[in-house]
Amino acid sequence: MSETWIRGGKVLLGERFEKRDLVVTDTSVYSPDKGAEPSSSADVIDASGLYVGPAFVDLHTHSRTPGKDGSETPESLAHAAVMGGYCSVVAMANTDPPIDNVTVWEQTKKRFEQLPVEVIQAASVTLGRKGERLVDMVSLKENGAVFFSDDGDVISSARVMKRALEYSKELNVLVAEHAQDAELAFGAVMNEGEISHLLGVQGVGEEAETIVVARDLELNRVVGGNLHLMHLSAAGSLDLLRYARSKGISFSSEVTPHHLLISDDELATFDTNYKVNPPLRSTKTRNRLKEALREGLFDVVATDHAPHAKHLKEQSIKEAPFGIIGLQSAFTATFTALMEDIDLDGEKESYRERALASIFQMMAIHPRKILSRFTSAETISNSYVVVDPGPETSQKESDLVSLSKNSPYIGRNLSGQVASLIIKGKVLLKDGELYKEGGFS
């Protein structure tokens, strides 16, 4: 039995932190009695001055397995997840071949079984991710698939999307949409605006997202299925979410750390590590997204971790693929974004705690809640992460453990650090470093 004592940390209880010790085992978690001491076999983590909460769960990761192991392997993916404080990630289906049938889904799932973190394998919504015919959702669900997405591409046909939502209701599974009109986005490399005009680069406006968000919400008003809107990036989407919420339309929504932290003006140097889809938006929109996050309009912060091998990103801005890695930096990037424009001297401390609490809601509690509606996953209980809000560190490429290094944060100062990670009572990460090889040996 694994047993870890987390001592002296501020532990998340509801929406607030309280100083207390925590004992985490593979089957339980509790506060030890006063005066109790850890057994000789237990690991002890000193969390004094640090914050403790449930380990993070990412609803949006690209594993690149199968077919693209030059960009990421299951092991490098798990390593990045552990460094980022994640116990569980959902792997997207835009692989080669795509995960569009039971056989491929099961084979791929097996590839992740021995990892120290849990990988929940998604299936695509349509065959070959072509947006035309639905996959056999019934058989996939019977075998355990609960997360369906054509992510990387929108489901262009409203008819197909409506049908998918109907099945999501009947089978109790989640359909996650990459909301972006394909016609408007055709050929686009970045956000459309002053920057794209200055650079002569073809852009795509925010309306490409909002029209699909509007369509999907309206479809789900009628259907009442399980709709998840991924990586929202448009100011117009926010108004639609507010409207949908006021009308009781069911949906969940996510925002990525990079859309909160960086803007489209970074593209001015033509650095392909800023090429991502949906694109980085204007600073104005970015600030709206942060306000919406504080307002509680988004359910989750998800990474859209999208590794690409170096030779692929070292192409022109036109040819380089979309995507940036994000698992390892998700907490620090989100925390930096939330703290960025706060300079209230006296209230900074309490604001900081509120920001940390809301990050735990977005990155740990809400994603669990969403998944628990569809699956009784085991790993994601009894897993805790310890974060240190203190240090501001310059991000180095050499610190990135993902096989791909396409991070937009290299050379940038980010606040906070994931200190320790305990999964089912077992320490994987301690003081920012893998503990006993983190279960990778």
């Binding site: 055709f186 490399v189 459309e192 002053e194 005009h197 200055l198 650079l199 002569g200 680069v201 073809q202 140097t269 033509f270 650095d271 392909t272 170096k310 030779h311 692929l312 070292e314 192409q315 022109s316 801005i317 036109k318 040819e319």
Partner: protein, 316 residues
């Protein structure tokens, strides 16, 4: 010289975009080009600023004029010029852009002239290489050497660069996809000229900072310079909604419209012209008169740029 490139630790810099230059940089380049022009007219053919230097062109897109112009400029300055042409994208060969660029530096060239169908490639190459990188046109972004050449032509025509102050310049046609329009417009604005973009919505970027006209008639009588852009029919007809006859009716600079222009106004075109589309045959003849000077000045501009980057430095 170029602000795009702060991280680079080398003595010589790059020539990447007009937006990365200051007015002072441009004045220096135009003065030097004018100087070369004068010496050339006096019969001088031997300049030796680039002696012992070898410049290589890395062109991912076809070009006759620009490459020949850079070659001629290099050779007039006493340097060698080599080609590294890539007919198709290197992605197909599994080689990254960076790999290709690094080979050129390893081969010992003093500078690389880059043209690419994608925006920003010269900037990327400049980040990867120590040797100076010159932008010979990147996608729809910029064509800065063309802008310097045009400034030489305009300074000659109007007497000085200062004369451009307060002038109105119409860029007519596919401004959104024109690297020439972007560079020339940026360059002219540094000297106090105002741009007007003239064309249908398919061709005009949705910028708020520049005046936009939807019919050439609205502005033709007021402008000092009409910069006519080539209509790339193949580009527009595939995906957009443009009707060519309606385009001609609204935006072609024809004899009738040209007669309404100010007496001293200049009509320019980066060439090659699409006679019968953006201009009619009468106007094309007027442009033809200026074209040889534009081409010659392009060479002097490139001599000026190359000698700024490499002159005085030890070649390899």
């Amino acid at each position: 010289m170029n602000g795009d490139n702060t991280s680079k630790s080398k003595v010589m810099e790059d020539f990447l975009s007009i937006s990365g230059l200051t007015k002072k940089d441009l004045v220096g380049l135009v003065d030097e080009a004018t100087n070369y022009q004068k010496r050339f007219r006096k019969g001088e053919r031997c300049f030796d600023e680039l002696r012992s230097h070898s410049v290589v062109s890395l062109f991912y897109e076809n070009s006759t004029r620009t490459r020949m112009s850079f070659e001629r400029a290099t050779k007039l300055l006493g340097g060698e010029f080599a080609y590294f042409d890539i007919a198709s994208s290197s992605v197909a060969k599994g080689e990254s852009l960076r790999d290709t660029a690094i080979v050129l530096e390893a081969l010992g060239f003093s500078a690389v002239v880059v043209r690419h169908y994608s925006e920003g490639v010269p900037q990327q190459v400049a980040r990867w290489l120590e040797i100076p990188v010159l932008n010979a046109g990147d996608g729809c972004h910029e064509h800065p050497s063309q802008a310097v050449g045009d400034l030489v032509t305009l300074a000659e025509r109007f007497g000085s660069l200062e004369a451009l102050k307060g002038m109105k310049v119409a860029f007519v046609g596919d401004v959104a996809h024109s690297r020439v329009a972007r560079s020339v417009s940026l360059a002219l604005s540094m000297f106090g000229a105002t741009s007007i973009f003239v064309g249908p919505p398919e061709m005009i970027p949705a910028v708020t900072s520049v005046e936009i006209a939807r019919n050439l008639d609205e502005v033709v009588a007021d402008v000092d310079i009409a910069y006519m852009l080539r209509v790339q029919q193949e580009r527009l007809l595939v995906r957009e909604t443009l009707d060519v006859s309606s385009y001609i009716r609204r935006f072609q600079l024809n004899d009738l419209r040209a007669r309404r222009m100010k007496k001293e106004a200049v009509i320019m075109h980066p060439g090659p012209m699409n006679v019968g589309v953006e201009v009619d045959s009468t106007v094309s003849k007027a442009i033809d008169l200026l074209a040889p000077a534009q081409v010659r000045n392009g060479v002097f501009a490139r001599m000026s740029i190359l000698s700024r980057l490499l002159g005085g430095a030890q070649g390899v």
